[in-house]
Amino acid sequence: MAKAHVKMTVNGKEVESLVEPRTLLIHYLREHLNLTGPHIGCDTTHCGACTIDMDGKSVKSCTVFTVQAEGASITTIEGMANPDGSLHALQEGFRIMHGLQCGFCTPGMIMRAHRLLQEIPNPSEDQIRFGIAGNLCRCTGYQNIVKAIQYAAAKLRGETFAEAAE
């Protein structure tokens, strides 16, 4: 199969490859670039484990061809930590509020929450729940994920999330 040339920015670095035109973006990220943070949990774009940030939008990378990402700017979970290597407020929030268990949905969940907080810096609980409805979690029951996002939202606004003290 003739290969297509793609060029994009992933986690701040320019990458360039030859790929089969049918290669899904999730497989390109995981298998060509070795970014195994984004996961695959379904075949029908329901679970959101593969969620990444692409040109300022949350995108399920299992439903995008790599060639569609030509010229795009992409952030995956691997690009989320602060420049000094410390955890991003969301990564910290998920840990402090026990917003993860098996960890499989977490990278997608954090990437979705990241975009949500760009859209709504001070979301209500309902806005968070609706905002992450495209991401499934089988372990946590979401309650602590909601709190993790509230924690991060507060921290990014320079405030303290009341329940974090517990």
Partner: protein
């Protein structure tokens, strides 16, 4: 400069031992996308395998032609049952004593059954190859309704068993019959029913569903021809069992098989058994000499690897008119699908379903379970459940409500009246168990007060009157549940898997600087073992949890253990940790005595070391003792500080809980709203309250899913109607209610730290609680038992049937 002197509280807090809300160590890697799951593994030259699957539920396979597929670019081989026969692996033994086709051998018995395995250079080429394999089928009549399985003219499914009228669990009475299993005293129970003042009898069905971890089942097999060694990385909840079974099947000596379970993305029972994908990947690696990866997709996961439940329970309760239960009689029709691949301890074909007497003092009971074959996927795994305990809890908790309704009693009051009393423990149930400890009345009363049960009932009564007057179209239901589980399998006298006793193990090695590593026979799939196990050790031997690494999943380094499922990690492995730690502590005491020049008996334990009784300033910390253990051991004592424990529990543990749910249902749309859900759990000693609450939240969400719509459904031809996340209900954050958690503490008397296990309790107690709420909502309109799942449409159908839409 002297280090500041810490108070006792500060020293204790520093350890982060049992009882503290220690943050999880796992999260550091998971939140950064640095988990290490099977599909993340990439080996040089690695190939990829994919299955050709049957579109039919029951058909004869006339011909498999892989010649076109083999010409597809990138495809290396097409493996069929004929290939597997050359290595005697066309069939594999199941955990339940049956055999299962690895690849279709002459016929197929369920839709999406594995027919051929295509091996190619990558997953895209493998999928191309799958498309190109030509299979000729001859359609046969499908048997889907379990109630028709034992009809004389029912189609014969298992031709391989046609003349074998004795199975792994005794005689078979029909060609589609697997086993009959009975417990209890039939005559005494029949007598109790003959003289009963009030009886109920209902078919209570627990529908077929699926554990659905977000990561599907997958493996990488790599056979090294030069060394004759096989390495398999896989989603294994029980890696050692996989190694032993792989050795027995492949004849590769066990020491030359390396089974590794890396991080697992949720298990919930789905990853206990062995699946055709594992066998095919291993064979493909042996044939090609290259590593072979197999990763099932979600549709394959839902339709082929291990369903759960599918129990149809005819349940009868006998009681006195004033509400005392006098007998329980249950007959179960257990639908196992095309092969009996049920994951139960080998002597227990229906798991621990005989916990069905629940939390109640039934003087007599009798239970019969008939296992049958149908044209559905094999499995019967314990979906966040200790071997059919969920089915048993649902059965008794629905039946108790039905009886309360018949007696005109409040369901909570009826339960309080029939609870096993605190002074009756250890309690011997009519179906053969010895409950270790419990205080049901205290838990129930605490829960009723917390939820304001009386207030809720008063509100419901008012709402019902308003409904009758036509002022509202909403009805209110209150779900009441009090469950007792049986977990921690188990004592080797009655629990084994294919002959391997169900002990578990821990090896602790304290390093010279006082840091330690603990290696375990269990395997976390999200439960947080790396965090909580270290807390047990911290409390036991005074090493800070942060200085203890917990390692699981590598069968080369871990002591042999039976893995994680059935809430057995804390009851069995947790006990092994305490016992290993106590061995270390005993040696540490000898060393400390030598260092302090006193007799061992003159020492006492003090948080993080030993001190001389009456002379608290004379002490040695565990760190100091560890250094001495290696470098200045007492004369005659061998150096080092490590221990291993294989723990065979004397009994199971019996966690319990009181759950309440308040729900409103719109009768015109069937839409429900969960207003409150309150869960009180008693899991004995609590190791990490944060993780316990997290487990309860997650289990309740699974219970919510199951009760309110999560179902594997088939049409009459055997087509799976709910084979993807499009149709199979997995709740999002929007539907999922808020959970209120609470607890009481009744330690297990036989467990070294008194812990009982909690991971599965919310699934066990949650399902009946939701179902009881829906049933309670409709009951004043004349319903008796409404089958699960209670999705919007089915609620609407119930309302329609009651004439509420006229």
């Amino acid at each position: 400069m002297n280090a500041p002197v810490l108070t006792r509280e500060q020293r204790e807090a520093k350890l982060e031992g049992m009882g503290c809300k220690r943050k999880r160590v796992e999260d550091i890697r998971f939140t950064q996308g640095k988990g290490n799951y099977v599909d993340d593994l990439k080996l040089p030259g690695m190939l990829f395998g994919d299955f050709v699957r049957s579109p039919y539920a029951h058909a004869r396979v006339k011909k498999i032609d892989g010649s076109k597929a083999e010409k597809v670019p990138g495809v290396l081989a097409v493996i069929t049952a004929e290939t597997l026969k050359t290595v005697n692996l066309a069939w594999m033994p199941t955990l339940a004593g049956d055999v299962q086709m690895v690849l279709a051998d002459g016929k197929v018995l369920f839709q999406n059954q594995e027919v051929a395995f295509v091996v190619a250079v990558d997953r895209y080429a493998a999928a191309d190859g799958v498309e190109a394999v030509e299979v000729e089928y001859e359609d046969l009549p499908a048997l889907i309704d379990p109630f028709k399985a034992l009809a004389p003219d029912a189609p014969l499914l298992r031709e391989d068993l046609k003349d074998k009228m004795t199975g792994a669990h005794g005689p078979r009475k029909h060609h589609n019959h697997i086993f009959e299993w009975s417990m209890g005293d039939k005559d005494l129970t029949d007598a109790a029913f003959a003289k009963a003042e009030v009886t109920t009898k209902d078919i209570i069905s627990y529908h077929r569903t699926h554990p659905t971890p977000l990561e599907t089942c997958q493996c990488v097999a790599s056979f090294d021809k030069i060394k004759g060694e096989l390495t398999v990385w896989g989603t294994f909840q029980a890696p050692h069992v996989i190694r032993t079974v792989a050795s027995l099947l492949s004849k590769i000596p066990e020491h030359k098989i390396h089974v590794i379970a890396p991080d697992i993305g949720g298990g919930f029972g789905n990853k206990v058994g062995a699946y055709p994908g594992y066998i095919c990947a291993i064979v493909a690696s042996i044939v090609t000499g290259k590593p072979v990866k197999w990763v099932e997709d979600r549709i394959e996961n839902l339709t082929a690897t291990s369903f759960a439940r599918d129990y149809h329970m005819t349940t009868e309760i006998a009681a006195t008119r004033d509400g005392k239960v006098t007998g329980l009689r249950v007959h179960v029709l257990a639908d196992h699908g095309g092969f009996d691949a049920c994951a139960d301890p080998s002597k227990w074909p229906a798991g621990f379903f005989n916990i069905v007497t629940g939390s109640y003092d039934f003087p007599v009971a009798h239970l019969v379970v008939d296992g049958i074959y149908t044209n559905k996927a094999p499995g019967g795994v314990a979906y966040r459940c200790s071997f059919r305990v969920t089915e048993a809890a649902y059965c008794i908790e629905r039946a108790m409500d039905i009886m309360a309704q018949k007696l005109g009693m409040d369901p909570a009051e009826f339960r309080l009246k029939n609870f096993i009393k605190r002074e009756q423990f250890p309690y011997h149930s009519a179906l053969g168990w010895e409950y270790d400890s419990g205080d049901y009345h205290t838990a129930m009363n605490k829960a009723m007060e917390a939820i304001n049960y009386k207030g809720l009932r008063a509100e419901q009564a008012a709402k019902r009157e308003a409904f009758k007057r036509g002022e509202t179209r909403e009805i209110m239901g209150i779900g009441v549940t009090f469950f007792t589980e049986i977990v921690g399998a188990g004592p080797s006298r009655n629990c084994d898997i294919l002959g391997v006793a169900m002990f578990d193990s821990c090896e602790i090695r304290v390093h010279p600087t006082g840091a330690a590593i603990a290696r375990m026979g269990t395997k976390s799939q999200g439960q947080g073992h790396e965090t909580t196990y270290a807390q047990i050790i911290a409390t036991e031997i005074g090493i800070a949890a942060d200085n203890i690494m917990v390692e699981e999943g590598n069968t080369d380094t871990a002591p042999y253990g039976l893995g994680t499922y059935g809430s057995r990690s804390t009851p069995v492995a947790g006990a092994a940790i305490a016992m290993a730690a106590r061995k270390i502590k005993a040696k540490a005491q000898m060393i400390a005595a030598y260092m302090l020049e006193v007799h061992e008996d003159d020492l006492e334990w003090d948080i993080d070391g030993f001190r001389v009784k009456g002379l608290p300033e004379k002490s040695k910390s565990m760190t100091e003792i560890a250094w001495a253990a290696y470098n200045k051991p007492p004369p005659g004592l061998e150096p080092g500080l490590e221990a291993v424990s294989y723990y065979d529990p004397p009994n199971m543990t019996y966690p319990f809980g009181a759950y309440f749910c308040a729900m409103d249902i719109d009768v015109d749309t069937g839409v429900y709203k969960v207003r409150r859900f309150y869960a009180l759990d008693d899991c004995g000693t609590r190791i990490n309250p944060m993780i316990i609450e997290g487990q309860v939240h997650g289990g309740l969400t699974e219970a919510f899913a199951i009760a309110m719509g999560q179902e594997i459904r088939y049409d009459e031809m055997g087509n799976v109607l709910t084979g993807s996340f499009m149709d199979f209900f997995v709740p999002t954050a929007v539907e999922t209610p808020n959970w209120e958690t609470d607890f009481t503490v009744t330690p297990s008397p036989h467990h070294p730290i008194g812990a009982k296990g909690v991971g599965e309790s919310p699934n066990v107690g949650g399902v009946p609680c939701f179902s009881n709420a829906v049933n309670d909502a409709f009951s004043f309109l004349g319903t008796k038992h409404i089958q699960m799942p209670h999705d919007y449409w089915r609620n609407w159908v119930v309302a329609e049937g009651l004439g509420l839409h006229k």
